[in-house]
């Protein structure tokens, strides 16, 4: 049985032009807020070196006259590490173990070689931990993680200075470089392969069991040295932390602190954008509600007629609510599509500079459905309130 559409009764002859600007505003508001969540998430991920709530600071001992004269040591003792770990503003500490044997790396294409070094840290302190970063006794190839900073320096400074073309990450991972460990008769020839790039650690990292094994091979009675430590903290801007580091003459990688300031500035900008998004959304929703009220007022005669015929107020309000819910869903869908496009582009750009595996924030994923639910609920309440005024 055919029927007369109530939708046609309400909206069939009315111009919807008045809805254009409120809907554009709503589109921008709904698009802006989750984008802010995601950019905030991305900034944190990049600066903290992964999807983590913690920050990692690389510390070493300040080189003073006493250390230069051999009166002091630049190594961290077990007792010092325990003392650092006991501080309330420090979540965890990792000792960076150094090699106590010579490392000589042969450059590819017979271009000579250079002396190098190796460090190791516990795997849980790594931001980049590929499955190939694994070594066992008898394995000739040593997996290495280098810092992204060094990789950039290689491509922007070292290679161009030698008239060489830059090497992409994928190509550098294919190289297996000969490396000589130790000196004289006990010298071992092995191979090095770069398997990852770290934003968090600015040194050359190899698996801890390899350094322990090699140190023991070359100097069985000598304890492994540790000239660096990694601090895991919740807030690198904590005053007590910086005071403690100063008092104990520990030097922090300054770039990490600058990055923290950068993150703070970025967050201020993002909070402003978030507030702007909220204001735009709020004003737009209220404009939509104003438009709905106007439509209802213009339809007074029709509504009174429908109530007289036996229609219930819920029959009438549901038609209006369904129409606007549909519109809001379409707007939200388009804003999510725009956000996906922008985030994909942003992640593509970030990947050029960082090896951090960027994830989608919960805020981004949850905002749109929650926003649609809240806006539809808000409009529904407003429509029902206006329709309730008809009491035939």
């Amino acid at each position: 049985m055919e029927s007369v559409s109530l939708f046609k009764l309400f909206f069939g002859t009315k111009s919807l032009k008045g809805l254009v600007f409120p809907l554009i505003g709503l589109f921008l508001g709904i698009a802006l807020i989750p984008l802010v969540f995601q950019i905030n998430h991305d900034v944190k991920q990049v600066l903290k070196g992964g999807d983590s709530n913690y920050q990692y600071l690389q510390i070493s001992k300040e080189i003073g006259i006493s250390t230069a004269l051999g009166l002091g040591t630049i190594n961290f003792s077990e007792a010092e590490i325990k003392k650092i770990k006991a501080q309330s503003f420090i979540e965890d500490v990792a000792q960076v173990t150094s090699n106590n044997f010579r490392v000589y790396v042969e450059a590819p294409y017979n271009r000579g070689g250079f002396d190098g070094y190796m460090h190791s840290i516990p795997n849980e302190f790594l931001d980049e931990h590929p499955s190939s970063f694994f070594w066992e006794i008898g394995q000739n190839e040593i997996p290495v993680i280098i810092s992204n900073q060094f990789f950039t320096l290689l491509n922007t400074g070292i290679l161009p200075a030698q008239g060489q073309s830059p090497i992409p990450k994928i190509a550098i991972k294919q190289l297996s470089l000969p490396v000589y460990l130790g000196r004289g008769n006990t010298r071992l020839k092995m191979r090095l392969r770069i398997v990852g790039f770290s934003d968090r650690i600015t040194t050359v990292i190899v698996p801890r069991n390899f350094v322990d094994w090699a140190n023991n091979q070359f100097h069985p009675n000598q304890k492994s040295k540790s000239t660096m430590a990694i601090l895991k903290v919740k807030d690198s801007g904590n005053k007590a932390l910086s005071q403690y580091l100063n008092q104990n003459d520990y030097e922090v990688n300054k770039e990490q602190l600058v990055a923290q300031k950068g993150m703070w500035i970025a967050q201020v900008i993002l909070i402003i954008l978030f507030t702007l998004g909220l204001i735009i959304s709020f004003l737009s929703i209220n404009s939509v509600i104003l438009f709905v009220s106007l439509v209802i007022m213009k339809s007074t005669k029709i509504i009174e007629m429908l109530l007289t015929l036996g229609y219930k107020r819920t029959n009438i309000s549901s038609v209006i609510i369904k129409f606007f819910s549909f519109l809001i869903c379409i707007i939200a869908l388009f804003s999510v599509m725009l956000d996906w496009f922008l985030i994909e582009f942003l992640h593509h750009v970030i990947k050029e500079y960082s090896s951090v595996e960027l994830t989608i924030s919960n805020g981004f994923l949850l905002f749109s459905p929650i926003a649609v639910f809240v806006i539809v609920a808000y409009i529904s309440i407003a429509v029902k309130k206006v329709i309730r005024q008809f009491s035939l």
Binding site: M1, E2, L9, T13, T308, L309, G310, Y311, R313, L392
Partner: protein
């Protein structure tokens, strides 16, 4: 369903109605399935009575009962149920939407309960001589044609009473008789009662009683 009026006195008419009235301020009962004529000269509150019986006006003293249930406790949804399932009305001012076609106006009522098929509606329109007007917009119809559309629309629901407020005022005798035949047929099939509100006495239906408003 029976309808009982107990001392009903619409606020605008208090002090103005005649002591000889059978309705205002009196107790009367219209029994289930009965046909009554309410004689009401102009200005006596004829449309007010229809509005009271249909729940459109609540500004009155006294009480109205449907099956001994006071309507004073009815909420708007209960009245919607009554308007779509119990009481049908042909309003004096017809209450048609001018921008809709005659068929759309009828369907708007019919789709509440899906009482009749389109073919049945067309059959009724044919019986009243407005089949060719069903797709015309109501503002293009004559008053007599509109009255016939309003009659068909009122019949497109299950009802226990039908209230007719001067339904044939713009119909000639032939079309009046056709409309009466159709109304009688549908009223009988619903085993319903009928309340005719008119300016003058008539014998259109087999009334069991005649009630004077003045």
């Amino acid at each position: 369903m029976n309808i009982k009026l107990k001392n009903i006195a619409p606020h605008p008419l208090i002090g103005a109605f005649s002591p000889s009235t059978d309705i205002w301020g009196k107790a009367i009962t219209i029994e289930k399935g009965s046909k009554v004529l309410i004689l009401a000269p102009s200005g006596s509150g004829k449309t007010t009575l229809v509005s009271v019986l249909y729940g459109l006006r609540k500004d009155f003293d006294g009480e109205l009962f449907f099956n001994d249930e006071s309507t004073s406790v009815f909420d708007i949804d209960k009245w919607s149920d009554i308007r779509s399932n119990s009481i049908a009305v042909v309003f004096q001012d017809l209450q048609l939407l001018a921008d809709l076609t005659a068929m759309e106006n009828i369907l708007l009522k019919n789709q509440l309960t899906n009482q009749f098929s389109r073919a049945k509606i067309e059959e009724m329109a044919n019986q009243l001589g407005i089949l060719n007007k069903l797709n015309s917009k109501c503002n293009n119809l004559s008053r007599g044609e509109k009255q016939r559309v309003a009659i068909i629309r009122a019949l497109c629901m299950p009802f226990k009473f039908i209230i007719l407020d001067e339904p044939f005022s713009h119909l000639d005798e032939i079309n009046t008789q056709k409309a009466i035949a159709l109304i009688n047929k549908i009223v009988a099939s619903n085993k319903a009662g009928l309340i005719m509100v008119n300016l003058f006495a008539d014998n259109h239906f087999n009334y069991v009683s005649q009630i004077k408003m003045v």
